[in-house]
Protein backbone atom coordinates (compact mmCIF):
# COMPACT_ATOMS: atom_id res chain seq x y z
CA UNK A 1 0.00 0.00 0.00
CA UNK A 2 1.02 3.60 -0.58
CA UNK A 3 0.36 6.66 1.55
CA UNK A 4 0.65 10.24 0.43
CA UNK A 5 1.64 12.54 3.29
CA UNK A 6 1.24 16.30 3.47
CA UNK A 7 3.32 18.38 5.90
CA UNK A 8 2.15 21.92 6.54
CA UNK A 9 2.70 23.14 10.10
CA UNK A 10 5.18 26.01 9.74
CA UNK A 11 7.76 27.14 7.15
CA UNK A 12 7.68 23.97 5.10
CA UNK A 13 5.08 22.67 2.70
CA UNK A 14 6.03 19.14 1.78
CA UNK A 15 4.46 16.11 0.13
CA UNK A 16 5.86 12.60 0.09
CA UNK A 17 4.80 9.13 -0.92
CA UNK A 18 5.72 6.24 1.37
CA UNK A 19 5.21 2.52 0.93
CA UNK A 20 4.15 -0.06 3.47
CA UNK A 21 7.67 -1.50 3.54
CA UNK A 22 9.08 1.84 4.64
CA UNK A 23 10.39 3.13 1.36
CA UNK A 24 10.14 6.88 0.86
CA UNK A 25 9.37 6.97 -2.87
CA UNK A 26 9.44 10.75 -3.08
CA UNK A 27 9.82 13.65 -0.68
CA UNK A 28 9.33 17.08 -2.16
CA UNK A 29 9.20 20.32 -0.22
CA UNK A 30 9.29 24.08 -0.48
CA UNK A 31 10.29 26.35 2.37
CA UNK A 32 8.75 29.78 2.94
CA UNK A 33 11.49 32.29 3.70
CA UNK A 34 10.42 35.32 5.72
CA UNK A 35 12.25 38.60 5.06
CA UNK A 36 15.66 38.66 6.77
CA UNK A 37 15.43 39.71 10.38
CA UNK A 38 11.78 38.81 10.87
CA UNK A 39 10.08 35.62 11.98
CA UNK A 40 7.43 33.56 10.25
CA UNK A 41 4.25 35.43 9.36
CA UNK A 42 1.43 32.87 9.45
CA UNK A 43 -0.70 34.44 6.72
CA UNK A 44 2.19 34.96 4.34
CA UNK A 45 3.47 31.45 4.95
CA UNK A 46 -0.04 30.15 4.23
CA UNK A 47 -0.15 32.10 0.96
CA UNK A 48 3.23 30.68 -0.01
CA UNK A 49 1.96 27.17 0.67
CA UNK A 50 -1.26 27.71 -1.31
CA UNK A 51 0.68 28.88 -4.33
CA UNK A 52 3.25 26.12 -4.25
CA UNK A 53 0.94 23.20 -3.31
CA UNK A 54 -0.13 22.07 -6.82
CA UNK A 55 3.46 22.00 -8.04
CA UNK A 56 4.70 20.07 -4.99
CA UNK A 57 1.89 17.54 -5.39
CA UNK A 58 2.70 16.93 -9.05
CA UNK A 59 6.40 16.61 -8.29
CA UNK A 60 5.82 14.19 -5.43
CA UNK A 61 3.71 11.90 -7.60
CA UNK A 62 6.05 12.18 -10.58
CA UNK A 63 9.19 11.40 -8.57
CA UNK A 64 7.49 8.42 -6.96
CA UNK A 65 6.28 7.28 -10.41
CA UNK A 66 2.84 6.90 -8.93
CA UNK A 67 -0.52 8.02 -10.29
CA UNK A 68 -2.80 9.74 -7.78
CA UNK A 69 -5.33 6.89 -8.10
CA UNK A 70 -2.73 4.39 -6.92
CA UNK A 71 -2.42 6.05 -3.53
CA UNK A 72 -4.27 4.11 -0.81
CA UNK A 73 -4.47 6.79 1.87
CA UNK A 74 -3.94 10.52 2.34
CA UNK A 75 -2.24 11.64 5.55
CA UNK A 76 -1.77 15.21 6.71
CA UNK A 77 -0.26 17.06 9.64
CA UNK A 78 -3.34 17.96 11.67
CA UNK A 79 -1.29 19.79 14.34
CA UNK A 80 0.31 21.31 16.23
CA UNK A 81 1.38 24.41 14.35
CA UNK A 82 0.20 27.71 12.96
CA UNK A 83 -3.52 27.70 12.21
CA UNK A 84 -3.53 29.35 8.78
CA UNK A 85 -0.66 27.14 7.63
CA UNK A 86 -2.18 23.94 9.00
CA UNK A 87 -5.41 24.71 7.17
CA UNK A 88 -3.63 24.77 3.81
CA UNK A 89 -2.33 21.23 4.27
CA UNK A 90 -5.68 20.07 5.61
CA UNK A 91 -7.58 21.56 2.68
CA UNK A 92 -5.33 19.86 0.13
CA UNK A 93 -5.65 16.58 2.03
CA UNK A 94 -9.45 16.74 2.25
CA UNK A 95 -9.77 17.56 -1.43
CA UNK A 96 -7.52 14.66 -2.42
CA UNK A 97 -9.24 12.26 -0.05
CA UNK A 98 -12.72 13.14 -1.36
CA UNK A 99 -11.67 13.22 -5.00
CA UNK A 100 -9.75 9.94 -4.87
CA UNK A 101 -12.20 8.35 -2.42
CA UNK A 102 -9.30 7.32 -0.21
CA UNK A 103 -9.22 7.50 3.60
CA UNK A 104 -7.99 10.60 5.36
CA UNK A 105 -5.35 10.00 8.07
CA UNK A 106 -4.53 12.54 10.81
CA UNK A 107 -0.89 12.75 11.87
CA UNK A 108 0.61 14.63 14.81
CA UNK A 109 3.64 16.49 13.47
CA UNK A 110 6.02 15.50 16.29
CA UNK A 111 4.90 11.86 16.19
CA UNK A 112 5.95 12.14 12.54
CA UNK A 113 9.43 13.26 13.62
CA UNK A 114 9.59 10.25 15.95
CA UNK A 115 8.34 7.63 13.48
CA UNK A 116 10.55 8.73 10.58
CA UNK A 117 13.49 8.58 13.00
CA UNK A 118 12.46 5.13 14.23
CA UNK A 119 12.18 3.98 10.60
CA UNK A 120 15.60 5.26 9.59
CA UNK A 121 17.46 4.28 12.78
CA UNK A 122 15.76 0.94 13.38
CA UNK A 123 15.43 1.68 17.10
CA UNK A 124 12.49 -0.03 18.77
CA UNK A 125 11.91 1.51 22.18
CA UNK A 126 14.08 4.60 22.46
CA UNK A 127 14.09 7.46 24.89
CA UNK A 128 13.50 10.14 22.29
CA UNK A 129 14.57 13.76 22.21
CA UNK A 130 12.64 15.94 19.76
CA UNK A 131 14.37 19.21 18.98
CA UNK A 132 12.74 21.52 16.49
CA UNK A 133 11.10 24.89 16.13
CA UNK A 134 7.89 23.60 17.65
CA UNK A 135 9.12 21.03 20.15
CA UNK A 136 11.84 20.48 22.68
CA UNK A 137 10.77 17.41 24.54
CA UNK A 138 12.13 14.22 26.06
CA UNK A 139 9.61 11.44 25.51
CA UNK A 140 9.31 7.69 25.88
CA UNK A 141 6.54 5.34 24.83
CA UNK A 142 4.51 3.60 27.48
CA UNK A 143 1.07 2.08 27.50
CA UNK A 144 -0.39 3.52 24.33
CA UNK A 145 1.03 7.04 24.52
CA UNK A 146 4.31 8.91 24.20
CA UNK A 147 4.86 10.25 27.69
CA UNK A 148 6.66 13.51 28.23
CA UNK A 149 9.46 13.18 30.79
CA UNK A 150 10.96 16.59 30.23
CA UNK A 151 10.34 19.56 28.00
CA UNK A 152 10.90 23.26 27.65
CA UNK A 153 8.84 25.41 29.95
CA UNK A 154 8.96 28.36 27.57
CA UNK A 155 10.54 28.61 24.10
CA UNK A 156 12.02 25.70 22.14
CA UNK A 157 15.63 25.11 21.23
CA UNK A 158 14.72 25.90 17.63
CA UNK A 159 13.10 29.19 18.71
CA UNK A 160 16.21 30.09 20.68
CA UNK A 161 18.60 29.53 17.78
CA UNK A 162 16.29 31.17 15.22
CA UNK A 163 15.75 34.23 17.40
CA UNK A 164 19.47 34.62 17.98
CA UNK A 165 20.13 34.28 14.25
CA UNK A 166 17.50 36.94 13.50
CA UNK A 167 19.15 39.31 15.97
CA UNK A 168 22.36 38.81 14.01
CA UNK A 169 20.56 39.55 10.76
CA UNK A 170 20.30 36.00 9.38
CA UNK A 171 17.13 34.44 7.99
CA UNK A 172 15.12 31.75 9.80
CA UNK A 173 15.60 28.89 10.29
CA UNK A 174 19.01 29.97 11.52
CA UNK A 175 20.34 26.97 13.45
CA UNK A 176 22.86 26.10 10.78
CA UNK A 177 24.28 29.63 10.77
CA UNK A 178 24.61 29.66 14.56
CA UNK A 179 26.43 26.34 14.41
CA UNK A 180 28.83 27.70 11.81
CA UNK A 181 29.56 30.81 13.92
CA UNK A 182 29.87 28.77 17.13
CA UNK A 183 32.57 26.63 15.53
CA UNK A 184 34.66 29.77 15.08
CA UNK A 185 34.14 30.90 18.68
CA UNK A 186 35.78 29.44 21.74
CA UNK A 187 35.66 31.90 24.61
CA UNK A 188 33.10 30.89 27.20
CA UNK A 189 30.74 33.65 28.30
CA UNK A 190 28.72 32.96 31.44
CA UNK A 191 24.98 32.90 30.65
CA UNK A 192 21.97 31.57 32.61
CA UNK A 193 21.77 27.79 32.88
CA UNK A 194 18.21 26.76 33.77
CA UNK A 195 17.33 23.16 34.48
CA UNK A 196 14.21 22.44 36.53
CA UNK A 197 14.04 18.73 37.24
CA UNK A 198 13.85 17.23 33.76
CA UNK A 199 12.63 20.50 32.27
CA UNK A 200 14.60 23.30 30.70
CA UNK A 201 13.83 26.97 30.07
CA UNK A 202 15.52 29.01 27.35
CA UNK A 203 14.00 32.48 27.38
CA UNK A 204 16.36 33.78 30.09
CA UNK A 205 19.33 32.50 28.11
CA UNK A 206 18.09 34.27 24.98
CA UNK A 207 17.61 37.58 26.79
CA UNK A 208 21.07 37.38 28.35
CA UNK A 209 22.71 36.45 25.04
CA UNK A 210 21.08 39.37 23.23
CA UNK A 211 22.29 41.66 26.00
CA UNK A 212 25.85 40.37 25.55
CA UNK A 213 25.61 41.15 21.83
CA UNK A 214 24.55 44.69 22.63
CA UNK A 215 27.55 44.98 24.96
CA UNK A 216 29.57 44.10 21.85
CA UNK A 217 30.78 40.66 22.88
CA UNK A 218 32.24 38.71 19.95
CA UNK A 219 29.39 37.20 17.92
CA UNK A 220 31.20 33.88 17.55
CA UNK A 221 31.77 33.60 21.30
CA UNK A 222 28.13 34.36 22.06
CA UNK A 223 26.99 31.69 19.60
CA UNK A 224 29.51 29.24 21.02
CA UNK A 225 28.40 29.89 24.61
CA UNK A 226 24.69 29.79 23.78
CA UNK A 227 25.12 26.41 22.10
CA UNK A 228 27.28 25.02 24.90
CA UNK A 229 24.85 26.10 27.62
CA UNK A 230 21.57 25.40 25.84
CA UNK A 231 22.71 21.96 24.71
CA UNK A 232 24.24 21.04 28.08
CA UNK A 233 20.90 21.85 29.74
CA UNK A 234 18.98 19.54 27.44
CA UNK A 235 21.60 16.80 27.64
CA UNK A 236 21.56 16.96 31.43
CA UNK A 237 17.77 16.68 31.51
CA UNK A 238 17.97 13.78 29.05
CA UNK A 239 20.59 12.00 31.11
CA UNK A 240 18.29 12.25 34.13
CA UNK A 241 15.48 10.61 32.16
CA UNK A 242 17.85 7.98 30.82
CA UNK A 243 18.99 7.07 34.32
CA UNK A 244 15.42 7.17 35.65
CA UNK A 245 13.96 4.95 32.91
CA UNK A 246 17.04 2.81 32.31
CA UNK A 247 16.34 2.76 28.57
CA UNK A 248 18.90 1.14 26.32
CA UNK A 249 18.25 3.28 23.24
CA UNK A 250 18.47 7.04 22.75
CA UNK A 251 17.14 8.71 19.62
CA UNK A 252 17.46 12.30 18.44
CA UNK A 253 15.06 13.78 15.91
CA UNK A 254 13.77 17.12 14.56
CA UNK A 255 15.42 20.04 12.81
CA UNK A 256 18.06 20.80 15.44
CA UNK A 257 19.11 17.12 15.40
CA UNK A 258 21.35 18.04 12.48
CA UNK A 259 23.65 19.99 14.82
CA UNK A 260 26.94 18.11 15.15
CA UNK A 261 27.86 19.50 18.57
CA UNK A 262 24.50 18.44 19.97
CA UNK A 263 24.93 14.97 18.49
CA UNK A 264 28.39 14.64 20.02
CA UNK A 265 27.07 15.56 23.46
CA UNK A 266 24.26 13.01 23.30
CA UNK A 267 26.72 10.40 22.12
CA UNK A 268 28.77 10.94 25.29
CA UNK A 269 25.87 10.32 27.68
CA UNK A 270 24.64 7.28 25.80
CA UNK A 271 28.11 5.78 26.12
CA UNK A 272 28.04 6.52 29.86
CA UNK A 273 24.75 4.67 30.23
CA UNK A 274 25.46 1.87 27.77
CA UNK A 275 22.69 2.96 25.48
CA UNK A 276 22.68 2.87 21.69
CA UNK A 277 22.49 6.39 20.26
CA UNK A 278 21.10 7.17 16.83
CA UNK A 279 20.06 10.29 14.96
CA UNK A 280 17.32 10.56 12.36
CA UNK A 281 18.58 10.30 8.77
CA UNK A 282 19.91 13.72 7.76
CA UNK A 283 17.46 13.92 4.85
CA UNK A 284 14.56 13.93 7.31
CA UNK A 285 15.77 16.15 10.16
CA UNK A 286 13.86 19.17 8.89
CA UNK A 287 10.07 19.16 8.48
CA UNK A 288 9.05 17.03 5.49
CA UNK A 289 6.22 15.12 3.89
CA UNK A 290 8.06 11.85 4.53
CA UNK A 291 7.46 12.01 8.29
CA UNK A 292 3.74 12.39 7.64
CA UNK A 293 3.49 9.81 4.85
CA UNK A 294 5.28 7.10 6.85
CA UNK A 295 3.36 7.79 10.07
CA UNK A 296 0.24 7.77 7.90
CA UNK A 297 1.05 4.19 6.85
CA UNK A 298 1.41 3.10 10.48
CA UNK A 299 -1.77 4.90 11.54
CA UNK A 300 -3.83 3.62 8.61
CA UNK A 301 -2.79 0.02 9.27
CA UNK A 302 -3.83 0.47 12.90
CA UNK A 303 -7.23 1.76 11.79
CA UNK A 304 -6.79 5.46 12.51
CA UNK A 305 -9.10 7.06 9.95
CA UNK A 306 -10.82 10.43 10.03
CA UNK A 307 -14.11 11.68 8.64
CA UNK A 308 -13.72 14.88 6.69
CA UNK A 309 -16.30 16.42 9.01
CA UNK A 310 -13.98 15.77 11.98
CA UNK A 311 -10.82 16.97 10.32
CA UNK A 312 -10.54 20.48 11.79
CA UNK A 313 -6.89 21.23 12.49
CA UNK A 314 -5.49 21.21 16.04
CA UNK A 315 -2.97 24.04 16.43
CA UNK A 316 -2.31 23.11 20.07
CA UNK A 317 -2.35 19.33 19.90
CA UNK A 318 -0.09 18.03 22.65
CA UNK A 319 2.07 15.02 21.89
CA UNK A 320 1.02 13.14 25.02
CA UNK A 321 -2.65 13.37 24.01
CA UNK A 322 -2.25 11.28 20.85
CA UNK A 323 -3.26 7.60 21.12
CA UNK A 324 -0.70 5.38 19.35
CA UNK A 325 -2.44 2.08 18.59
CA UNK A 326 0.34 0.81 16.33
CA UNK A 327 2.95 0.45 19.05
CA UNK A 328 1.01 -2.00 21.21
CA UNK A 329 1.15 -1.57 24.96
CA UNK A 330 4.80 -0.72 24.95
CA UNK A 331 7.10 -1.15 27.83
CA UNK A 332 5.64 -0.08 31.11
CA UNK A 333 7.96 1.83 33.41
Amino acid sequence: MLCLGIESTAHTFGIAVASESGEILSDVRAVYKPPTGSGIHPREAAQHHVQIAPKILQEALRKASVRAEEVNAVAFSMGPGLGPVLRVGATVARALSLHLKKPLIPVHHAIGHIEIAALTTGLRDPLTVIVSGGHTAIVAFSNGYWRVFGETEDITLGNLLDALARKLGYPSPGGEKIEELAEKGGKYIDLPYTVKGNDVAYSGLLTAAVKKLKESAEVEDVCFSVQEIAFAMLVEATERSLAHLEKKELMLTGGVAANRRLQAMFKEISREHNAVFKVVDRRFTADCGAQIAWTGILAYKAGVILNVSESAVKPRWRIDQVPIPWRGDGICV
Binding site: G134, F149, G197, H244
Partner: protein, 211 residues
Protein backbone atom coordinates in the same frame (compact mmCIF):
# COMPACT_ATOMS: atom_id res chain seq x y z
CA UNK B 1 33.80 1.40 48.80
CA UNK B 2 31.39 -0.23 46.38
CA UNK B 3 29.65 1.51 43.47
CA UNK B 4 25.93 0.92 43.93
CA UNK B 5 24.43 3.31 41.42
CA UNK B 6 25.50 5.38 38.49
CA UNK B 7 23.04 8.22 38.58
CA UNK B 8 22.60 10.95 36.03
CA UNK B 9 25.00 13.34 37.69
CA UNK B 10 26.67 11.44 40.50
CA UNK B 11 28.08 8.06 41.36
CA UNK B 12 26.79 6.55 44.58
CA UNK B 13 29.08 4.35 46.65
CA UNK B 14 28.33 2.33 49.73
CA UNK B 15 30.99 2.43 52.40
CA UNK B 16 31.44 2.34 56.16
CA UNK B 17 32.19 4.99 58.72
CA UNK B 18 32.68 4.01 62.39
CA UNK B 19 30.98 0.72 61.71
CA UNK B 20 27.91 2.34 60.15
CA UNK B 21 27.00 2.08 56.48
CA UNK B 22 27.35 5.41 54.69
CA UNK B 23 26.54 6.63 51.24
CA UNK B 24 29.15 8.53 49.28
CA UNK B 25 27.78 10.75 46.57
CA UNK B 26 30.37 11.96 44.15
CA UNK B 27 29.48 14.34 41.34
CA UNK B 28 31.57 13.09 38.47
CA UNK B 29 32.97 15.07 35.59
CA UNK B 30 30.63 15.34 32.63
CA UNK B 31 32.81 15.29 29.56
CA UNK B 32 30.00 16.45 27.29
CA UNK B 33 30.03 19.94 28.74
CA UNK B 34 32.76 22.57 28.91
CA UNK B 35 35.18 22.23 31.82
CA UNK B 36 34.41 25.69 33.22
CA UNK B 37 30.67 25.09 33.22
CA UNK B 38 31.10 21.55 34.52
CA UNK B 39 33.16 22.55 37.55
CA UNK B 40 30.90 25.49 38.33
CA UNK B 41 27.77 23.33 38.36
CA UNK B 42 29.32 20.49 40.34
CA UNK B 43 30.77 22.69 43.03
CA UNK B 44 27.64 24.82 43.42
CA UNK B 45 25.38 21.81 43.65
CA UNK B 46 27.56 19.90 46.08
CA UNK B 47 27.63 22.76 48.56
CA UNK B 48 23.99 23.68 48.16
CA UNK B 49 22.75 20.14 48.37
CA UNK B 50 24.48 19.60 51.71
CA UNK B 51 23.11 22.86 53.06
CA UNK B 52 19.57 22.19 51.92
CA UNK B 53 19.55 18.61 53.22
CA UNK B 54 20.50 20.01 56.57
CA UNK B 55 17.89 22.78 56.50
CA UNK B 56 15.17 20.38 55.37
CA UNK B 57 15.74 18.42 58.54
CA UNK B 58 15.09 21.50 60.67
CA UNK B 59 11.96 22.09 58.61
CA UNK B 60 10.72 18.70 59.79
CA UNK B 61 11.38 16.62 56.67
CA UNK B 62 13.39 13.39 57.04
CA UNK B 63 16.66 13.62 55.12
CA UNK B 64 19.95 11.75 55.48
CA UNK B 65 22.47 12.97 58.05
CA UNK B 66 25.43 14.70 56.42
CA UNK B 67 28.80 13.51 57.71
CA UNK B 68 31.22 15.20 55.38
CA UNK B 69 31.34 17.57 52.44
CA UNK B 70 34.40 17.78 50.25
CA UNK B 71 34.23 20.59 47.77
CA UNK B 72 37.52 19.62 46.12
CA UNK B 73 36.26 16.22 45.04
CA UNK B 74 32.59 17.28 44.76
CA UNK B 75 31.69 14.67 47.36
CA UNK B 76 29.12 14.34 50.13
CA UNK B 77 29.27 11.54 52.69
CA UNK B 78 25.89 10.91 54.25
CA UNK B 79 23.74 8.45 56.13
CA UNK B 80 22.66 5.41 54.12
CA UNK B 81 18.87 5.18 54.18
CA UNK B 82 17.40 1.68 54.01
CA UNK B 83 13.93 1.54 52.52
CA UNK B 84 11.89 1.26 49.34
CA UNK B 85 11.97 3.91 46.64
CA UNK B 86 8.56 5.45 46.12
CA UNK B 87 8.99 4.76 42.41
CA UNK B 88 8.61 1.04 43.12
CA UNK B 89 5.65 1.52 45.45
CA UNK B 90 3.77 3.75 43.00
CA UNK B 91 4.26 1.28 40.18
CA UNK B 92 1.95 -1.12 41.97
CA UNK B 93 -1.85 -0.91 41.59
CA UNK B 94 -3.53 1.81 43.64
CA UNK B 95 -4.01 0.93 47.27
CA UNK B 96 -3.93 2.32 50.79
CA UNK B 97 -0.18 2.96 50.78
CA UNK B 98 -0.58 5.31 47.81
CA UNK B 99 -3.03 7.41 49.77
CA UNK B 100 -0.83 7.69 52.85
CA UNK B 101 2.37 8.30 50.92
CA UNK B 102 0.80 10.89 48.65
CA UNK B 103 -0.59 12.88 51.57
CA UNK B 104 2.77 12.63 53.31
CA UNK B 105 4.60 13.88 50.21
CA UNK B 106 2.30 16.89 50.05
CA UNK B 107 2.71 17.63 53.73
CA UNK B 108 6.50 17.43 53.54
CA UNK B 109 6.75 19.55 50.40
CA UNK B 110 4.71 22.19 52.23
CA UNK B 111 7.04 21.97 55.23
CA UNK B 112 9.95 22.69 52.89
CA UNK B 113 8.13 25.52 51.18
CA UNK B 114 7.20 27.03 54.52
CA UNK B 115 10.92 27.33 55.24
CA UNK B 116 11.50 28.81 51.76
CA UNK B 117 13.18 25.65 50.48
CA UNK B 118 12.45 24.55 46.91
CA UNK B 119 13.47 20.94 46.27
CA UNK B 120 13.80 21.40 42.51
CA UNK B 121 13.55 17.76 41.50
CA UNK B 122 10.59 16.11 43.19
CA UNK B 123 10.26 12.70 41.61
CA UNK B 124 9.41 9.31 43.05
CA UNK B 125 13.03 8.29 42.47
CA UNK B 126 14.03 10.88 45.03
CA UNK B 127 11.85 9.66 47.89
CA UNK B 128 12.51 6.65 50.11
CA UNK B 129 9.94 5.11 52.45
CA UNK B 130 11.48 3.35 55.44
CA UNK B 131 9.99 0.45 57.40
CA UNK B 132 8.91 2.73 60.24
CA UNK B 133 6.89 4.84 57.82
CA UNK B 134 9.25 7.78 57.45
CA UNK B 135 9.47 9.33 54.02
CA UNK B 136 13.00 10.51 53.25
CA UNK B 137 13.56 13.19 50.63
CA UNK B 138 16.92 12.90 48.91
CA UNK B 139 18.77 14.56 46.05
CA UNK B 140 18.55 18.29 46.70
CA UNK B 141 21.08 19.04 43.96
CA UNK B 142 18.67 21.27 42.04
CA UNK B 143 17.26 22.87 45.17
CA UNK B 144 17.37 26.53 46.13
CA UNK B 145 15.85 29.12 48.43
CA UNK B 146 12.74 31.01 47.46
CA UNK B 147 9.40 32.02 48.85
CA UNK B 148 7.97 32.96 45.45
CA UNK B 149 4.66 31.38 44.52
CA UNK B 150 6.06 30.76 41.03
CA UNK B 151 8.91 28.61 42.37
CA UNK B 152 6.62 26.67 44.67
CA UNK B 153 4.29 26.11 41.74
CA UNK B 154 7.06 24.82 39.49
CA UNK B 155 8.25 22.50 42.26
CA UNK B 156 4.81 20.87 42.45
CA UNK B 157 4.23 21.01 38.70
CA UNK B 158 7.39 18.97 38.17
CA UNK B 159 6.11 16.41 40.65
CA UNK B 160 2.79 16.25 38.83
CA UNK B 161 4.55 15.65 35.52
CA UNK B 162 6.84 13.04 37.09
CA UNK B 163 3.72 11.24 38.28
CA UNK B 164 1.85 11.45 34.97
CA UNK B 165 4.83 10.29 32.94
CA UNK B 166 6.05 7.48 35.19
CA UNK B 167 2.93 6.42 37.08
CA UNK B 168 0.12 7.32 34.69
CA UNK B 169 -2.29 4.76 36.16
CA UNK B 170 -2.32 6.35 39.60
CA UNK B 171 -1.06 9.84 38.82
CA UNK B 172 -4.27 11.87 39.00
CA UNK B 173 -5.48 10.32 42.23
CA UNK B 174 -2.06 10.60 43.85
CA UNK B 175 -1.50 14.21 42.86
CA UNK B 176 -4.89 15.22 44.23
CA UNK B 177 -3.86 13.67 47.55
CA UNK B 178 -0.50 15.42 47.41
CA UNK B 179 -2.31 18.75 47.22
CA UNK B 180 -4.58 17.70 50.08
CA UNK B 181 -1.54 16.95 52.21
CA UNK B 182 0.07 20.22 51.14
CA UNK B 183 -2.96 22.18 52.30
CA UNK B 184 -2.85 20.62 55.78
CA UNK B 185 0.31 22.66 56.33
CA UNK B 186 -0.14 25.66 54.03
CA UNK B 187 -3.86 26.23 53.85
CA UNK B 188 -4.28 29.48 51.97
CA UNK B 189 -1.06 29.16 49.96
CA UNK B 190 -2.22 25.70 48.97
CA UNK B 191 -5.16 27.20 47.11
CA UNK B 192 -2.95 29.77 45.43
CA UNK B 193 -0.34 27.24 44.41
CA UNK B 194 -3.02 25.04 42.80
CA UNK B 195 -4.00 27.95 40.56
CA UNK B 196 -0.35 28.66 39.89
CA UNK B 197 0.26 25.09 38.68
CA UNK B 198 -2.53 25.52 36.14
CA UNK B 199 -0.98 28.76 34.97
CA UNK B 200 2.44 27.12 34.55
CA UNK B 201 0.88 24.31 32.52
CA UNK B 202 -0.86 26.74 30.22
CA UNK B 203 2.34 28.68 29.70
CA UNK B 204 4.00 25.52 28.38
CA UNK B 205 3.70 24.44 24.79
CA UNK B 206 0.49 23.31 23.16
CA UNK B 207 -1.90 23.36 26.04
CA UNK B 208 -5.43 23.63 24.70
CA UNK B 209 -6.52 25.71 27.64
CA UNK B 210 -4.23 28.59 26.74
CA UNK B 211 -6.39 29.95 23.92
Amino acid sequence: MRLIKKGAEANLYLSELNGKPVLIKRRVEKSYRLGTLDRKLRSYRTIHEAQLIHEAKSAGVPTPIIYLVDEESFTIVMEYIVGERLKEIFNKPFKRSHVNSSRLIGKQVALLHRQNIIHGDLTTSNMILTEDGKLYFIDFGLGYHSNALEDRGVDLYLLKRALTSTHHRVANRCFKLVLEGYKTVLKKDGELVTLKIREIERRGRYHGERM
